[in-house]
């Protein structure tokens, strides 16, 4: 079973990654993650906002009200300097973990 800490770590990485290309509102963040991972990672409203607010508290993202293309006010999130700084080591950390797990799987298969 994947623990809450691991899940939160992967979720943070996913959000930071999609925000790297520019500011997005909550629904766009969830939609983009789902699309880019071909549905393998999904954020519901209930899982997304507490995490976004937590990341905002940690200073990784910043939310601000903007008027979107369809004229509606939406709270859009963008990466802060701290968020950008965290993204690279977080990516390395997770890719090392996945590499290690793949190696373990190969050993188990052999």
């Amino acid at each position: 079973m994947i623990g809450a800490g691991t899940k939160r770590g992967t979720a943070e990485l996913a959000i930071l990654s999609v925000l790297e290309s520019g500011s997005l509102h909550g629904y766009e963040i969830a939609h983009r993650i789902e699309r880019q991972t071909r549905g393998k990672l999904r954020f519901t409203l209930a899982s997304l906002y507490p995490l976004l607010y937590r990341m905002e508290n940690k200073g990784l993202v910043r939310g601000a009200w903007e008027v979107s293309g369809n004229g509606r006010r939406r709270r859009c999130y963008r990466l802060t300097a701290a968020g950008k700084k965290k993204l690279l080591p977080l990516r390395q950390e997770w890719s090392e973990l996945f590499r290690a797990l793949r190696q373990l799987a190969k050993v188990a298969d052999a």
């Binding site: 629904y27 209930a46 997304l48 607010y53 937590r54 006010r73």
Partner: protein, 232 residues
């Protein structure tokens, strides 16, 4: 299209944040539901099904409200075990001790249990025991509000008797065996009485309060689900 704002406002009622902050959170969630609903409609799904699918993103509004409250109050910066167990437990312990002192000071006729030779081993007031369910309920409520599980909140509700139980389980038997091996058999029965007065009776009273809160909160949660189903 459903009245998303009315719906979200109802479900997140009692969020207990500042007026502006609460409105912004509601507006943000309303925006998300609108986007999801319209996206489902664009896929050719009927409005009724689109509403249901948009709402399915929140399985438990009470849980979402609690999480948002915790994050926005930055309580999660503290170690969860502190807010879910230690703080409610210690507060309960302090309240229980204050009530004990107050009952000894202001109320007469304490119940006294004594040894065969008249040495008092226990003095407590029935009024204290009767007040303990409230203490257990407060501790359990605070624990649950901080996101504590059923087990954690029940443990924090009986926290005031845990140190005393530890004394009975470890210190007194050890002291008796090491220091007074002969007297052990004689006072063993009295130790049981003491345990009854200091641990079991107050523990049961505290647990009663804790269980009452669990029942009350789970009842509230169930009614929340009922509203969801009705709206969907």
């Amino acid at each position: 299209m459903p009245d998303w704002e009315k719906l979200v406002r109802e479900q997140l009622a009692g969020l207990d944040l500042g007026y502006q902050e609460e409105n912004e959170i509601i507006a943000e969630i309303v925006g998300h539901l609108e986007e999801a609903f319209e996206s489902f409609c664009r896929e050719g799904i009927s409005e009724q099904d689109a509403t249901r699918r948009a709402l399915a993103q929140v399985a438990d509004w009470n849980d979402l409200r609690r999480k948002i409250y915790l994050v926005r109050n930055r309580e999660d910066n503290m170690e969860p075990r502190v807010t879910r167990f230690w703080l409610p437990g210690l507060l309960g312990f302090a309240l229980a001790m204050i009530l004990d002192v107050a009952s000894h000071r202001f109320l007469s006729h304490p119940l006294v249990l004594s040894l065969d030779r008249g040495t008092p081993i226990l003095r407590f007031h029935i009024s204290w025991i009767l007040a303990l369910p409230l203490v257990g309920a407060i501790a359990a409520y605070l624990s649950r509000r901080a996101g504590g599980t059923l087990r954690t909140s029940l443990l924090s509700s009986i926290f005031p008797v845990l140190p005393i139980a530890a004394v009975f389980l470890v210190a007194i038997p050890t002291g008796l065996i090491v220091g007074h091996p002969i007297a052990y058999g004689i006072v063993a029965e009295k130790i049981l009485y003491m345990a009854l007065g200091w641990v079991l009776a107050p523990g049961a009273a505290l647990l009663t309060g804790g269980l009452f809160v669990q029942r009350f909160l789970s009842g509230g949660s169930r009614s929340g689900h009922g509203v969801n189903a009705g709206v969907a």
